[in-house]
Symmetry: C2
Subunit: 463 residues, 2 copies
């Protein structure tokens, strides 16, 4: 039964890139196969991204949504977890090259499952990132936590010192992107200002904070049924969120944001919103590995940088390479966890069939288990096939799904209790602002710029 | 009864500097007095420092030992919490100047309680700090967490890639300083390598990690009874910790550490230890505010930068200024939480008496409630007066004291459960390594250097 112990010299290697939903579920799906699984990922944790906004708003600690990948796979004897950022895939040599703290290493593969996911996209305006951080990693969430709680701290001092003109911008929060993450973030910012922080300050009233949710689209939650979109918008507005639709962000700077709004007659006006804290929850761009693979196999990536795959999730001409999750495009499948998870299981099954000499190339069929988004405590929306739920019942459904998921990974009662307590109560256990959250990333980026320009200068001098 | 609501224009202001044990307990002790309490601190949290090593080793999240100061004092109507780093105290004008993100503000006081604590000291070798971070703040603990878990990740890749000479230094951990923090850290590193990570790797065996505890002193836990020192040393050695006493650190660099050891005949030899991960738990230096105050009132700080105070904890000639906790020196009181807490209560009482026109100047008497240190799960040492405990019973005492304390602040059952689960079980919930932990501080420091040298150059150019 324990196939790991019956290793033969010809035992094939399945390399998996990424520790997200796709990568981790692929590894698990291969647990009983006579293969060596090598999972290479650039973070040492698996990230339960749907709850990232709860880390950003102080409900959960990073460990509660980011179990160590190594720990999750510790008992799976045929799996090796390797920390490293994959920088190159050579489809001819069948190798993957990764680097870790400047050291490179190369890993050959017999089968490859690429599940490197997607990063935040600022739609060609990467300069926005400095002032409107994304919501894709633990670092993002901790940085936003520092900015959000920090904004109230700064507002308190400004109000105390009579610098009243600074208070408004410090207490205005703009969330860009009205997908599930943006909606959840906006809802939590309301909870934070209206409940958690309500009595904590002396010179400001946190409940006066303005929460703005902006999106270029004409509705919130674009992928949901119009009835749920309307219900969500109304819920948000009832909570006090200023929902601005058909508002395209055209500028972001330290002190605010500019949106272009379209009037009914088609004319546009630029509107300036003074807001120190901005959260970018708008677009995604596939891992650059998608482009690299596309160039090698002769296909074109789409606008979001995703690589088109065959109906069986392999690359054209390369049945040994599977691409799953957010970095591939096929039949307009959405960029959600279930597509990655089911794709990973499909690819694992295909590899198993190939190992057994059975015919492969089965078409991947996605089973839509439904989608959901929370708006606030006790209020969510859910869409399961033609069933549409709103309010408390949807929230219960949302809760059940997430509880089951978290239990599966963490097996830790404490996360659940901590979560329940924070969620139902008023408190936030995780409000710590660290220096590194606040200044770390800026410093890292600035340093990279300086080094790049120094290298350039050195090059010029040498010439 | 609610004195906060009967404010009069002449209501005196008590400014407290610091949100550590001294600052926070001083604020609380003044809850029912007819004063405005303004607590100014450079972090937004109170830090329960005795458990910092548990954050560094992944048992607890930062929020669990660092409640928001604002939240702790939310219900105390006469208290205002202000985030800011105090840069100057003017004892003549009776003002405190603080800065927050470059903005300065000045706060007048009628009474001042200075409780700014102490920072890590590298005994004049600040260059060691880059390679051997201290253990005094949440940032320190998160950075160490990243380094510790990261070292095992790097060792795994090095072993996998056949770079065997790198594995040893990556799996050697040196803790400098054999006080309670150093002992607890060393014990936890053993737990981590022997239990938590035991089965998580494929190319290294974490149990092979070498944990070295070095101190220049001839014994561990210098402030405890010799019997407890011996018991602790034996316990550590039984766990596999390499305890090196009379070993003074003379050099620290990226790859290792040099210690000077004294032989029985008085000769010294320099010994090189190859170790990537170093933890500095050795010395402390009082906040620079101590020196600033000392210069103004005409006294001298001691070697650790602490200011001598009068027997009533006030400064000579300034009965309105109280200094409590780690930044003052009086009668060789130890730098422990209880001295700060009891000092804070004493000062609050003195202020109350002064407000009532009663005689002040009462001598501060410290009641030693005892001290303790954990070595590992189920094993600690404790000294309460002439009572000395070791092993399991001491561990239970240690547990009881810390539970009571944590409950007092957090009122959160979940922290306790999470703590109990991690402590008794094998798991560590908080293993997340963030980019900012790993590279953030280095980048911040490097950037500061570059800016300083650029400013210097600009100055030279202008001249």
């Amino acid at each position: 039964m324990d196939s790991a112990r019956t290793a033969s010299p010809k035992r094939p290697t399945v390399v998996i890139i990424g520790s997200g939903f796709g990568g981790l579920f692929a590894a698990r799906a291969l647990a009983k196969d006579d293969v060596d699984v090598v999972l290479i990922a650039k973070t040492s944790h698996h990230l339960f991204q749907p709850l990232l906004y709860q880390v950003a708003t102080g409900i959960l600690s990073q460990g509660e949504i980011a179990p160590s990948t190594r720990e999750v796979l510790a008992k799976q004897k045929n799996a090796t977890v390797v920390l490293g950022e994959v920088t190159a895939i050579d489809v001819t040599a069948q190798t993957v090259t990764a680097s870790l703290v400047g050291e490179q290493f190369t890993q050959p593969y017999d089968y490859l499952i690429v599940a490197a996911g997607a990063a935040q996209s600022w739609f060609g305006h990467d300069e926005f990132a400095e002032y409107a951080p994304g919501m894709k990693s633990i670092d993002d969430a901790l940085e936003l936590r520092g900015r959000i709680f920090g904004a109230f701290e700064l507002a308190e001092v400004a109000a105390k010192e009579g610098r009243h003109d600074e208070v408004g911008p410090l207490m205005t929060f703009v969330v860009v992107g009205a997908g599930p993450t943006g909606v959840e973030m906006a809802g939590q910012l309301v909870e934070l200002s209206n409940r958690t922080l309500r009595r904590d300050f002396r010179h400001i009233s946190p409940a006066d904070a303005k929460i703005i949710l902006a999106d270029a689209a004409p509705s919130v939650l674009g992928s949901f049924h119009p009835k749920l979109q309307d219900a969500t918008k109304k819920s948000l507005e009832k909570l006090g969120v200023d929902v601005r639709l058909e508002a395209m962000v055209t500028g972001v700077d330290e002190r605010g944001i500019t949106v272009r709004r379209k009037a009914a007659d088609g004319t546009t006006t630029d509107e300036r919103i003074e807001a120190v804290t901005k959260v970018w929850a708008a677009g995604v761009a596939a891992s650059p590995l998608a482009k690299q693979l596309a160039d090698q196999v002769g296909v074109q990536v789409d606008r979001a940088g995703r690589i088109p795959v065959q109906p069986d999730l392999t690359l054209v001409g390369h049945p040994e390479i599977h691409v799953v999750g957010d970095m591939m495009t096929l039949d307009k499948l959405p960029g959600v966890a279930q597509v990655a998870i089911q794709g990973a299981r499909h690819s694992a099954k295909e590899i198993r069939r190939h190992l057994k000499g059975e015919p492969t190339g089965a078409t991947f069929t996605y089973f839509d288990k439904g989608s959901m988004a929370t708006i606030s405590r006790f209020r969510a929306i859910a869409e399961i096939g033609s069933i549409r739920l709103t309010g408390f019942i949807a929230w219960l459904a949302w809760l059940a799904v997430h509880l089951v998921y978290i239990i599966g990974f963490k097996s830790r009662l404490t996360s659940l209790i901590s979560w329940a307590v924070s969620f139902i109560g008023r408190g936030r256990a995780e409000r710590t602002i660290t220096e590194q959250q606040v200044f770390g990333r800026q410093a890292i980026e600035r340093l990279a710029e300086i080094e790049a320009s120094a290298a350039k200068r050195a090059g010029t001098d040498a010439a």
